[in-house]
Symmetry: C2
Subunit: 190 residues, 2 copies
C-alpha cells in the first residue's frame, strides 16, 4: 500500500494497533503534483500538513528586496507545511512548490484534530516532529551565523549526499544565502 511509508515513519515513534491504523488511513488523501506546481501559494491559509511519498518540494518566501528565497527543501519521508499559517489560520508568507513530479499525502487540519482527540498518543508523534524541526533549525541558525559560505555548502553536501544532482544550483545558493555566482565559484575552486 502506498501509505506504508507513512505508517513506518509513525511506528518509529509510537505503536499503533490495526484499528488505529485504519482510523488514521480513513483521514488521509493523496495528491499528485507536476514539477513547478504549487501546493501552497503565498497569501493563502495553509490548512494541511503534507507528507512526501515521492519527489521533492521547496518552501520559499519573498525577502525585503522582493526576491524569492528558498527556506527549505523537503524530500521523501518528511512532512511539510507552513506551520505558522496552519496553527494560526493566518495568510501564509511561504509558498510550497514541487521541484520534481511529486506525490504527497494530505492530512487536513480538521483531521489532525479528530486524530488527536481519538488517539491521544499522536500528540507524542507530533511533539517529536516539532522537536526534530527545532533541532534542525537550531543547527541552521548556528551555521548561518558562524560559518562561511564554503562551510555551509560542505555541510549541505554532507547532510544531503547526492541531492545536489536533483536540485538546480541556483536554488541551493538561495537556500544557503549566497549569490549563485559565488556558489559557482566555490564549486569550481575545489
Amino acid at each position: 500500500m502506498t501509505f506504508n511509508i507513512l505508517l513506518e515513519n509513525i511506528e518509529k515513534y509510537i505503536k499503533l494497533d490495526k484499528e488505529e491504523k485504519e482510523f488514521l488511513l480513513s483521514l488521509l488523501s493523496q495528491k499528485k503534483l507536476r514539477k513547478k506546481q504549487q501546493l501552497l501559494t503565498t497569501g493563502m491559509v495553509c490548512s494541511s500538513k503534507y507528507f512526501v511519498l515521492k519527489g521533492c518540494l521547496k518552501r520559499s518566501y519573498t525577502n525585503t528586496e522582493g526576491k524569492e528565497r528558498v527556506f527549505e527543501f523537503c524530500f521523501e519521508n518528511q512532512w511539510i507545511s507552513d506551520i505558522q499559517s496552519f496553527w494560526k489560520g493566518s495568510p501564509s508568507i511561504f509558498n510550497i512548490e514541487a521541484i520534481e513530479d511529486t506525490e504527497v499525502i494530505e492530512l487536513k487540519r480538521a483531521s489532525i484534530e479528530t486524530l488527536l482527540s481519538n488517539i491521544p498518543k499522536f500528540e507524542k508523534y507530533f511533539r517529536i516532529l516539532s522537536n526534530e524541526q527545532i533541532f534542525k533549525q537550531e543547527r541552521r541558525i548556528k551555521q548561518a551565523l558562524s560559518c562561511s559560505a564554503k562551510e555551509r555548502y560542505d555541510d549541505f553536501l554532507m547532510d544531503y549526499p547526492k541531492i545536489e544532482l536533483r536540485l538546480p544550483q541556483r536554488q541551493i545558493a538561495s537556500y544557503l544565502g549566497v549569490s549563485p555566482e559565488f556558489l559557482s565559484s566555490l564549486r569550481n575552486k575545489k
Copy 2:
C-alpha cells in the same frame, strides 16, 4: 504569590481550575542565580525546563573555532532549556548562564511527565510553546541568511527595545553573528 507570573502565562492558552493549579504548583521549585552563575553546563544533561521570573540568561555554545557564541537571550516570562538534551537525555552542547541576578522556576522532566499524564491539556500548552519557538527561529534564519548586519541589529532593537542597556554589547554582537568591533562601528555611524 511568586508563581503567579507563570500561571498567568499558562492561562493565556489553557484554563485551569483550582485543583489543577495546586497540582501544578506542587511540582514546581524556585532557584536563584547570581550574575555569571550557570544553570546548565556544557556536557551535562539538561533535565529541566526553567521559567524566568526575574533577570536575564543567555544560552551559548562553542563554535568550530572554539569561540563562545550566544545562541539566545532569555528574559522574564519565558521558558529556557536545551530541548535536545532534555528530550534525548544527551549531553548538552549549550550552557546557560545568568547575565544578571536571576530567579527561575524549575520544572523537572519527571514532573512534566506527571503533569502531562494527569492534566493532558498541558500537551496543548507545550505544543504552543514549541510552535512559538519554531516561528521565532524561522524568522531568525531568514534574517541571518538574507539581511545585512545593520538590518539584523535594527531588528534586534525593535524586538527588544531598551534591552541593549541590560546586555553587554559584546554579547549582542555574538548573538547577531558579527564581530564586536563591527557592531561598535555600526552603532557609531548612526
